[in-house]
Structures are given as structure tokens and as C-alpha cells.
Assembly symmetry: none
Homo-oligomer: 209 residues x 4
DNA sequence: CATGAATGAGCATTCATTCAT
DNA sequence: CATGAATGAATGCTCATTCAT
């Protein structure tokens, strides 16, 4: 639980693929030890058991996302533009760490049950979006919606699941391009919606009548 | 092992909360036996082990979603309207089965690794959306997007994460209302997007210049 | 913890020597399993772990002593005679179960920490003596001493340590003879004391002056 | 590993209660380190592992008893008087070191298996008594018994168990008084026996007839 | 000398699963 | 059909001990 030596930390990443593939419960500590080259007992010396390993790995990912998104969000642009930047940032990190992402999803239940991770999850993914939505309303770059928190959750889902899907697919040769592609798709959806203008008119008409 | 007696089936649902709360690996067969009142060996007699329990529980949920969404999608309306109906249908089922939903997500990794479930997952969640998106383009009620499959994935995320969030929150007194609220929020997002028309102009301007 | 099947119970005795020799902590469950022929998991199914094994074994010994002594004490003789009988009974059982006795002594600390054993210990060893001492005073066959409970404890020690010593020594060919020999020695000590009558006079004289 | 600095030695006594309470196997070196304030590795530097700690602690106790009893036994008095003194000496030391006594008894099995301790045990407890008994016969202050070694063992038990019982009971405010009380009780028993003179007559009569 | 850090070796316990009744 | 009893197989974790500084 102390700040584990940089060397160990880096070795530990060798376990990510394992966990992504089999889930934490399907991964024996011995497997982790073997995959990382760190003696079992040493893992226990530095981390708090198997959960500790997951916690360390995911904390790292979450911190990374958190900080990249944080940067993207802190510019002087309007909220809409910053939302696009945030989406790109999050997807960029996710695509760059496919195994961690898959581990996160595969053990989402457990991650949720690990208090520290639960808040990191919230901080990394949900909060910035919610924040941006509110700011967008203030600066006129995003629409006021009826149920902001539900919409924020939904936007979170749109981004994250896209990222996950990218992470789960066989890692492409050009992660940056993948990220850009998904980022564009998500932004197109989230900002402009899918309805055609005609269907919008029809729909409003329908509701009016 | 296929057709378990109706009584057992209903008892088995008593295990959903357990699994939702602790994950399948955190749930002992003995726990399930105790929670459901079904003797351990009897569970084995009817189902194929622990995974069998999860498979049974989730298959049921997935079938339900699949069929409800199927109905919603099979009307004569335009694709956009049917998309709204599909969202409402999916969210309706999810909100009504919060524990199963959480079990599904919590053990997503395992579900993914169970072949039968993996396809059911795809069929229930992703396919109808993808299908609808294509049909919407055809009937002019939905926009043509640059990367349809990425967008479909993203829409799937928008819907599902919203549903999950509803399922995780303390079950409200009025599930139908919850479903409606979330459904509206998701549709607002997915159909109309978040950008204000002004920001759209600005943005296009910015891109042009 | 349920009344284990007679067959298992008898097999379990095969572990006594092991435990006597190495102490419970020095004895692996696997050793016990091997020595008794009972599969490890079956031991766990019936008993509560390693402590459970010790508890079972010693409970048995203690019950046996308790009941044999109980019989010896329940005759119509005077207390002194019954004390002799009790000593013989206790030593008889101890000599007949040398391994259990040694296990008991070797793990006395643990036995003391196991609540059930602690009381059984008291009941089997200490109580009958204390009782007899009191009755002996009443019927005039035993002396009134200044500190009855301290003396009872001491008598208990005289008997038990003698028995232990007999149990620890290589088991003789004729246990009954051993028991009789030790029994006689203990009774001689406990009933008549070691002082010569001359030394008694001297001593009283010394105190008087 | 022999001569540990006085300061460490004194700190080490802080572990006695721990060991008395839980047994040596139930006491982790880390516990000992924490309880004594001596770093784990330092304990290893000075002593030979866990057994070394026990050995150190008990050797000390045994030496103490040995020497105190030795003094008591080396006077010019008759054997009977010296036996009384020896009893008082042994009980005095035991009562003054209740935790060590309990540790000794609780881990009697192990102590017995530690060669050095085994002989120290014999030397401290058994030998002086045996010696005294023989001398008493020679100087006429103690009776000739049929089985001297069995009786010596029994006397040893009478004394030691009394001392233990005193050590286990909550340590009284006045250890010296306790020791005296128990000492008197033990001597009363061991020297004069419990039989009333009437019962002695009856008994001999009974045997004769 | 003293000790923080690291680890090899060990093992109790758990649990899913089977099967005789 | 249903199930109480039994167990094989697996593994997370502990802890005494070592050693480089």
C-alpha cells in the first residue's frame, strides 16, 4: 500500500492483459507473479492482495484519464469545444490502454465494490462531463436539457462504451487514428444527434397535434 | 438441465440480488442455495453449475429485452419513432429488473466469456440499434453518419449506461416513471444532440475558416 | 461438529500419536488425513478444523476420565477410600491412553483456550477431588486443611503429573500394573504425607519454641 | 546470539504475556517485535528465531528457580525443613513470574522438544525434590516410601500445579502472600497427608482383615 | 551493529462438484 | 426425482527467515 518502487509498478502492468483476459477471479496470484516476474510474497508485501493489484492498475488508468481530461477541459474555449476535447482525451487514453480498459469492464462489479476505485471512477468519467454540460448551458454553447444528470450519465455511456469497444477490438496498428475516428463519431452523435431536420419537424408537428 | 420447473425458476431469482451485490465469484453455491431455498445438489441437478445459474438468469433478461425491443421495433412507424420506442422498451425492462442488470454488468467479463450469453448480449442490445440506424437513413428519419457502426455502439452505450444507472440507484417506487424519465433524456440526447444551433454555426464557421 | 459417524471417530484416534509427538501446530492437516485415512476435506466437513480434531480427541479422553472417576466416587465407602479409588481410576485411564494424555499436556495452552475443553478439564480433574476433600472432612476420613482449594489443586497436580509421567515414559507392557504402582505412590503421598512422626514432633516443637 | 544486551533482554520480557496468552505458535515474530519494540530483524540478530525467544525467556525462569531452590536446599537444616524451604522458593519464583510460568506450561510440549529446555526443566523442578527425598530418608526427617521416583514426580506435580494455579489466577496485589499461602498448603499436604489418624487406623485394620 | 526490505516455503481452508440412496 | 453426505482439487495468504546496506 506504500508507494511501490517504480520498477515494481512497471512490472505490474504485465498483469493487465492476464486480468483483462480472464477476469481477476480467473487469475491466480501465481499467474500474476509469473507474468510480472515479481515473487508472490513481494506482491503481498507491497500491495493488499489480489484486489490490491487491480486497484493499483485501475487507479493508475483512472488517474491518467482524469488528468488528461482535466487538461482538455481547462482551456479557454467554449464548453462545446472543450467537450469535444474531453471526448478525444478520454478515448485517446482508453485506446492506448486497451488491457486496462478491458480489465476495468470485465471486473466492473468488483471495481464498484472497491471504495477507492468507485470514487475514482466517478471522478474520471462522470464528473467532467456533468461539469461541462452545466458550463455549456451557461456559455450558450450547449443546450439546456430537461434532465441534466440523466443526460450526463448517458453521454458518459456513449463515450465510454465507444472507447471500450475500441479497446476490445484487436488493437489496431494506429491507436491514434482509432481514437480520432471514435471521437468524431461520438461527438457527431452527442452534439448533433441523429434526427434529420425533417424528422424533427415531423416529430414536433406530431406532438403538437 | 434445460426446462427447469417453474417453481424452481422463480425461486432462483432470489439469487439475483446476491449476485448483483457480490458478483458471481463472490457468491458461493451454498449462498445461492440458502438464498433460494433450493438444496445445493438440486441446483446441480437442474442447472449446469454456478455459471449455469448466471446463464439462466441472464438469458432470461436478455430474451426479455430482446423480445420487448423486437416488438417496439416492428411497428410501421418511421425509424426515428421506432428508435424512441426501442429505447423506452429497453429501459423499461432494465428498470424492472435492477438486480439482473447489475449482475449482468458486474460480471460482464464472465458474461462475455460465456459464448451463449455473448451472442444474446449482442442480439439484445446492439443489433436492433444498428438495424434501426440503417433503416432511419433509408426512410429519411435519421441522419447518415460518417461511421455508422461506431455511432451505433455509442448509442448502445448511451442507452445502456443510463439504464444501468437507473438500476443501481435505489429502486424507486415508480419504475415506470423512472424508465420514462431516462428514456426521454436519452432520446433527447441521441436524437437532437446537445449543441445549440448557435454553437453549430460557430463551429462550422470555425472549421471553415 | 455433528456427532461424527463411529467409523470416523475411531479412525481419528490414529492422529493422537502424531499430535502427542509434534504438538498440534507441528501437525499438518495433511498428516492427520494421511494418518487416519480420512480425506482432509472430510475432516473439515465433520469437524471444525485442526482445533476441532484436538477438541474431539481430548473431549473424549476427558469424558472418559470424568465418567470413570465418577463411578469410583459414587460408592458408599468413606471419602478417603473413594479418593483412593478415584486416583486409581484417573491413573488407569491416563495410562491406557498415553498419546491422548501427552497431546493434552503438550497443547495444554491451547486446550485451555478452547472454552469447551477448559470446562471439561476442570470437570474431569479438579472438581471430583475438591468434592471428595469436602466430603472427607464431613465423614471424618480426611483432615480439615487450612486452604482446601489450594490443597485440592495440589492434589490434582500430584495425581495428574504422576499420570503424565507414566504416559510419557515408554508404554510399558503392563499398563494396569503401572497404574497400580503410581496409584499406590500417589495415595501414599497424598494420604499419609512424607514426614516421619519424629520429624513431626520436632517440627511442632520447633514451632512451639 | 548468547549475551544479549541488558536492554534488549528486559524489553524481551514484554513478550512473555503475549506468549502466555496465545502460545508461541499463536504469536508471530511481528507481534513480538511490536510488543517489545525491538525490530524483527534485530531479534534475529541476537537470538535464534522464535524458539530462541522462548528458550531465552524460559531459560531465565528455569535458572532462577534452579538457583533459588538451590539456595534453599543448601542449608544445614534437616531435609524436611529444606523441602519446605524449597517449596517456598519455587512457588515464590513462579508467583513472581506468572506470565513466564504460563508460557512454560502452555508450550510444555515444545519446551519438552527443545533439548536445552528439557534438561533445564528437569534440573530446576525434579532433581532437587528427588534429592531431598533421598536425603530425608537418610537423616530420618522424611519417610521411606515404596516408590521414591514416582513419589518425587508426584510431589513435583503437587508443587508445580499449585504454583501454576497461582500464576494463572489474576495476579494478586501481594504475590509474596500468595506464595506463602500456597506454600503452606502444599507443605501441609505433602508432609502430613490428608488422612485423619482415625482413618489411618481404619484403613490398616481393613487391610489387615 | 542494526534493520528495512524482500521472499521461499508452507498450509489451512474453501468450494464446486459428484454420487449413492 | 431430489438431496445429504462426501471429497478432489485448487489457491490465497501467512510468516519465519535472510540479507544488503
Amino acid at each position: 500500500m506504500r508507494k511501490l518502487p517504480a520498477k515494481l509498478a512497471s512490472q505490474l502492468y504485465g498483469a493487465a492483459e492476464l486480468i483483462a483476459e480472464r477476469g481477476l477471479d480467473g487469475t491466480k496470484i501465481d499467474d500474476i507473479a509469473e507474468a510480472t516476474g515479481i515473487p508472490k510474497a513481494t506482491i503481498y508485501y507491497h500491495l493488499d492482495g489480489k484486489n490490491g493489484v487491480l486497484e493499483f492498475l485501475l487507479s493508475d488508468l483512472l488517474d491518467l484519464i482524469s488528468s488528461e481530461v482535466g487538461v482538455a477541459v481547462s482551456t479557454a474555449e467554449d464548453a462545446r469545444t472543450r467537450l469535444e476535447a474531453a471526448v478525444a482525451a478520454q478515448l485517446g487514453v482508453m485506446v492506448e490502454h486497451p488491457f486496462l480498459c478491458r480489465a476495468l469492464v470485465g471486473d466492473l462489479g468488483r471495481a464498484t465494490r472497491l471504495p477507492e476505485l468507485a470514487v475514482a471512477l466517478h471522478t474520471a468519467f462522470y464528473e467532467p462531463i456533468q461539469q461541462l454540460l452545466a458550463e455549456g448551458v451557461a456559455d450558450g454553447s450547449l443546450r439546456q436539457v430537461a434532465d441534466p444528470s440523466a443526460v450526463a450519465m448517458s453521454v458518459f455511456g456513449a463515450i465510454t462504451v465507444a472507447g471500450l469497444s475500441a479497446a476490445v477490438d484487436a488493437p489496431s496498428a494506429d491507436p491514434a487514428a482509432d481514437a480520432a475516428r471514435f471521437s468524431a463519431a461520438v461527438c457527431e452523435l452527442v452534439l448533433d444527434g441523429l434526427a434529420t431536420s425533417r424528422s424533427r419537424d415531423d416529430h414536433e408537428l406530431g406532438e403538437r397535434s
